[in-house]
């Protein structure tokens, strides 16, 4: 039975409002998980130290999980529309690796390395790296869409090896390793503000959603309908690079979110940007919140870096999607 009505096809689970509600519920749950005792019942009789923990550690952490999850998955969605390939994302297009190289360059050349230096340089590197990969995709037409993420990962690994070499040469390995692995335990009220910059970024992506929807059909169709493809492509890549950079600088590299969330949503809701944007953002937030809860509870009271948990769960889902995509 292929013909289904609009409402039946979408299903209630993927209703944006329902997903938003789910984000709130899980976010509240996430607030009350941690080494320091803090229960929902204490909320109106907080001790000073509990209030301190809530405001300076738990709430910033939960907010940053939501922002990072939605930003990474929306960046992935955008990349997939820009390249017309389901398997391209900041992880598999060299964006993350390039941003990390940028951070290392910033650390080496600006020993004071203020956050603004790191942000700007990492953003530039991420943009250039992604453009390089996009140009490569355009020149070398890969017949098999599965090849694209694999080539992208190789490209990312090459960039990463340059980063490692530079880090070793300039003895900043210690300094750098914290950016390499995703970890939300270092988030506090002081550095969460950088991630809040992703809000206007997401708003901008939503604003141009209609353009990106059509760009998913390719350059020619876009130009026939009067979209300046080159300009919009550059804008899209810059937005992806900026989003990725902001996440890496606050939480570190978190793999796979940008691929699996948009693809899972697309299976249910199709490829119209207007239909998928908000569900993708919310689902990304839910995914990271859940992964973070797992990371904090598996070896309680210790904590596993979230990139390890995400990598383990994400790679299984990624293989599932690859096999599914290979058949279609």
């Amino acid at each position: 039975m292929i013909h289904m009505t609009h409402s039946a096809r979408k299903g209630k689970v993927f209703n944006p409002l329902f997903l938003a509600l789910l984000v709130v519920v899980i976010a509240v749950l996430s607030l009350f998980i941690g080494v320091q005792e803090l229960h929902l019942g204490d909320l109106f009789s907080l001790t000073d130290s509990q209030r301190m923990i809530l405001w300076h550690s738990r709430i910033p952490r939960t907010i940053s999980l939501i922002m990072a999850g939605s930003t990474l998955s929306v960046c992935g969605l955008l990349m997939q529309h820009l390249t017309q390939n389901k398997f391209v994302s900041p992880t598999t297009a060299g964006t993350m690796a390039s941003a990390r190289l940028g951070i290392i360059v910033a650390i080496i050349f600006f020993s004071q390395s203020a956050l603004i230096h790191k942000t700007v340089i990492a953003f530039l590197f991420a943009t250039l790296g992604t453009i390089a990969f996009t140009l490569f995709l355009r020149t070398v037409k890969l017949k098999n869409s599965i090849m694209v993420p694999l080539v992208g990962m190789m490209f990312g690994n090459i960039v990463s090896s340059i980063s490692t070499f530079a880090a070793v040469q300039y003895e900043v390995v210690q300094n750098v390793s914290s950016w390499m692995q995703g970890n939300f335990s270092l988030i506090h009220s002081g550095n969460v503000s950088l991630l809040l910059l992703t809000l206007p970024l997401l708003a901008l992506i939503a604003l141009f959603g209609h353009y990106f929807s059509i760009m998913g059909l390719g350059k020619e169709t876009s130009e026939k309908l009067g979209i300046p493809y080159g300009v919009m492509e550059l804008l899209g890549i810059s937005l992806v690079a900026l989003g990725t950079t902001l996440v890496i600088l606050t939480a570190g590299s978190i793999p796979f979110v940008g691929i699996i969330i948009p693809n899972l949503i697309s299976i249910k809701l199709g490829d119209h940007f207007g239909n998928t944007l908000f569900p993708t953002a919310f689902a990304g937030a839910i995914f990271l919140l859940v992964m973070d809860i797992l990371a904090r509870t598996i070896v309680f009271p210790y904590e596993i870096p979230i990139s390890v948990v995400t990598g383990a769960v994400g790679s299984v889902l990624f293989i599932y999607l690859l096999l599914k995509g290979g058949k279609g």
């Binding site: 292929i2 013909h3 289904m4 009505t5 609009h6 096809r9 017309q84 959603g209 209609h210 353009y211 929807s213 059509i214 998913g216 059909l217 020619e220 169709t221 130009e223 026939k224 309908l225 009067g226 979209i227 300046p228 697309s266 199709g270 490829d271 119209h272 207007g274 279609g328």
Partner: protein, 253 residues
């Protein structure tokens, strides 16, 4: 008005289209025929501004295509090129609604919704509107693409081999639809057709191209003649007439 004057296109030393000057009659259906590699598709791409022309001028409604902003040209001229399988999960209605983009940049107003509904109904797609396009047959997808072009609400509609990959019955259906676009809706249709019998049966005017040059142009009556076609295709073509329509026989000469 559309006027095409002295238009040429070359890639390096190779001349693909050479000094083509074309009369295009308004509110008529014009078929473009000719052997493979005659430059038909290139000419169509230049008219629709997908590629720039090297020399000459192409005017649409008084403006040179190069000077039209892309968004404005898309309100006057729509192009349908060969569509292979589309690997995108969009519903029929969503794809057709993209035709409104030049007007509202994606924010559909009441007029857009009316146009979308009319286009879907016109091509008999109302029942399929919620289907994903990757589940459609070739003939259905081709109808959806026409609906999208129609939804763009342009005076000029250009098509590059719309009959490709369609079986005979879908082919006839497609040509009848194009005929209706001209007769009922007053569109100026220019379509590249490989099957000269379809051109002979449905077109008002015919443009024949050969080796990048305009070989002949005129009414269907003038072009579908033995001397013109035999020289154009360099083969013997016999022409018979039945019920006022000419048919070209060339299968076994």
């Amino acid at each position: 008005m559309m006027t095409i004057e002295n238009v040429s296109k070359h890639y390096g030393d190779q001349v693909v289209v050479q000094n083509v000057t074309l009369p295009v009659e308004k509110v008529k259906m014009t078929a473009c025929i000719g052997p493979n590699g005659a430059g038909k598709s290139t000419l169509l791409e230049m008219i629709s501004s997908l590629i720039p022309h090297d020399t000459g001028e192409i005017y649409i409604d008084g403006g040179e295509v190069k000077s039209w902003k892309n968004g404005d040209l898309a309100k006057r001229l729509a192009v349908l090129r060969q569509t292979n399988h589309m690997n995108v999960r969009l519903t029929v209605r969503e794809l057709v609604s993209f035709g409104r983009f030049p007007y509202t940049k994606g924010r559909l107003n009441a007029n857009c919704l009316k146009m979308i509904d009319e286009s879907l109904t016109y091509l008999g797609l109302k029942e399929l509107e919620e289907r994903y396009i990757d589940t459609l047959s070739g003939g259905q997808l081709q109808r959806v693409m026409i609906a999208m072009v129609l939804c763009q609400d342009t005076d000029y509609i250009l098509l590059d081999e719309p009959l490709n990959n369609l079986d005979m019955s879908f082919g006839v259906q497609m040509m009848k639809t194009l005929r209706q676009l001209t007769d009922d809706l007053g569109k100026t249709v220019i379509t590249i057709v490989h099957d000269i019998n379809f051109a002979a049966a449905y077109a008002d005017n015919i443009i024949a191209m050969k080796n990048g040059q305009l070989f002949a142009a005129g009414t269907t009556e003038e072009i579908i003649t033995e001397p013109v076609l035999s020289e154009l295709y360099e083969m013997d073509i016999d022409i018979i007439e039945k019920n006022g329509t000419k048919y070209c026989l060339y299968y076994k000469n």
